[in-house]
Symmetry: C2
Subunit: 344 residues, 2 copies
Amino acid sequence: MTPPVTLRDVARAAGVSPATASRALAASGSTSTDRRAQVHRAARELGYRPNRAARELITGRTGNLCLVVPDLENPFFAAVAKSVQARARAAGYAVFVADSEEDPLLETELVTQLGAQADGVILCAPRMSETALTRLSAGRAVVLVNREAPGVASVVVDNVDGVRQAAAHVHALGHRRVAWAGGPADSWSDRERHAGLLHAAEQLPGLEVVDLGHFAPVFAGGVAAADLVAASRATAVLAHNDLMALGILDRLRSRGTAVPGGVSVVGYDDVPAATLVSPALTTVAVPFARLGRAAVDALLAAPAPLAGGATAGGAAAGGAAAGQRLTVELVVRGSTAPAPPAAR
Amino acid sequence: MTPPVTLRDVARAAGVSPATASRALAASGSTSTDRRAQVHRAARELGYRPNRAARELITGRTGNLCLVVPDLENPFFAAVAKSVQARARAAGYAVFVADSEEDPLLETELVTQLGAQADGVILCAPRMSETALTRLSAGRAVVLVNREAPGVASVVVDNVDGVRQAAAHVHALGHRRVAWAGGPADSWSDRERHAGLLHAAEQLPGLEVVDLGHFAPVFAGGVAAADLVAASRATAVLAHNDLMALGILDRLRSRGTAVPGGVSVVGYDDVPAATLVSPALTTVAVPFARLGRAAVDALLAAPAPLAGGATAGGAAAGGAAAGQRLTVELVVRGSTAPAPPAAR
DNA sequence: TTGTAAGCGTTATCAA
DNA sequence: TTGATAACGCTTACAA
């Protein structure tokens, strides 16, 4: 095959020194207009592609970002990955994507390894400890998605307001006994959502919250929760996320409990599958794409110019890390309806 | 922050030259056992992490792979991404993931750009032309997933046998008039599946295939196809993939056509959502995880030792590219049932 | 088996 | 504004 075209080749073809060629192409430093044109033409004609490794070696910047998620098959994270990747590309960055399989140990390892090859890390780690997160973000530009930790930049959604909307909705429909099917006990967003529900209940006269406990944030977790719903005498159930809500829906149906006739169900996230089921799922819509974009923007706007890892804190520099909170919106579909008269 | 630990630091701490340190850590070349131990200990104590850029600059290998898919939110590609990423990590590779938004132009650009930073590319490009694929694979190690092209390595599933199983299933249930809801006209797998169906029909006495045309391989495409199903007097419909089948299911339901009572529906892929709907979808299960793993293995087993891009053909070297074909299996669920007696 | 030294392709420094 | 020249951190001849 043809050997790669180097900057020297371009410089030679343009009749200038490599240094000048570099400046002309980088548009950094001063270069006369005609020289620049010459160099650019030569580069184009030769099909010059800068060697990123060589550039990285001296600048310390890779031009890459890194995204770590717990599960790529979870539509929530797939959507985040898609938008992160799109935004990064628009900014000229490539993205390493890694799946941590919900394993905090692997999460740490991935951030350490891949983070070394990237200018910044976007991390979805709902269950990692705060201290671990803070430690991981030291000496590295990190932005957390849907998670907060002291001193670490983050982009989250308004979990408290989301469940408030959900609770207000079922309350308005006449439901008074509402069950909560929680996610993992160590999930940050679950703690926020649960607290938000309790807080909302205080404002909603007569609303009683039945805590069903913690479940795996997947379909099977919802299936398990459904049986407790049935036993709880609640007329509505709010789930930690859509995947669980879909499990609840499925299990209630096979138990012969009508939805929304017997029990109303509300999810969280608004994953695509929420509209595939019947009745379609009433849920709190999370702006996935905006989450991903905001995370990339936060990384690229970091105070430190994203030096490879040798530099201080990056997005987290200075102690007071920027936190961004996106609004969410309840989407009412078929899985919620007025409470049965008997229950009012 | 602390400056990164370099090989020189390790060498100094171990009391050897950088060259010896390099050899000791790489286990390449000859090093005495005690020296090696010394160096390893020093490296561990100092927390040495080799600079990949420097290594790449001299070896020409990046230690990265690149995966390009049309849509990360499509559960099919999400599953492939997950398994590719896992297998690559096990082999010590990081993975760039890029979403081409179903755009052949962007696909080409991504392969060219990201491929330059990777030792190999795994490409899902159902709709790119064969010539474009062959051209793209020149001078680059490329493995195609669920797609074949002359001279390019690939890992595909047995599309023909998949539809054969589906056709045999509905035929055995007594269906004689079967509709085919095709995917995009330029989709390679759709051409295979369609041809497979026609071929299967020849072997199944009395089976008549009604061609409904081509649709977008997503939920909305299925919705569009559903109305044609109803008009076709077919008692069963085979869809290009699950997403379409789910759209068909949904639309038939809202039209008042019972599934499987009135019409039986068969999908392709077996995405997780196939079991979320009711009735659950009978479908041809594609081994996503094995597809991804096989693609990585094919890349890493390539004849050329994966040189960064300066070397010839990689996996495709020699002209006769390796093609691997995985078997698929029909999973019968609730969306298929015996044909109505009137139709027999 | 080990050390010295020469690069890999780029950017940054410094004179001119 | 330009061109030598020195890095960046590593691997690999080649010599000892």
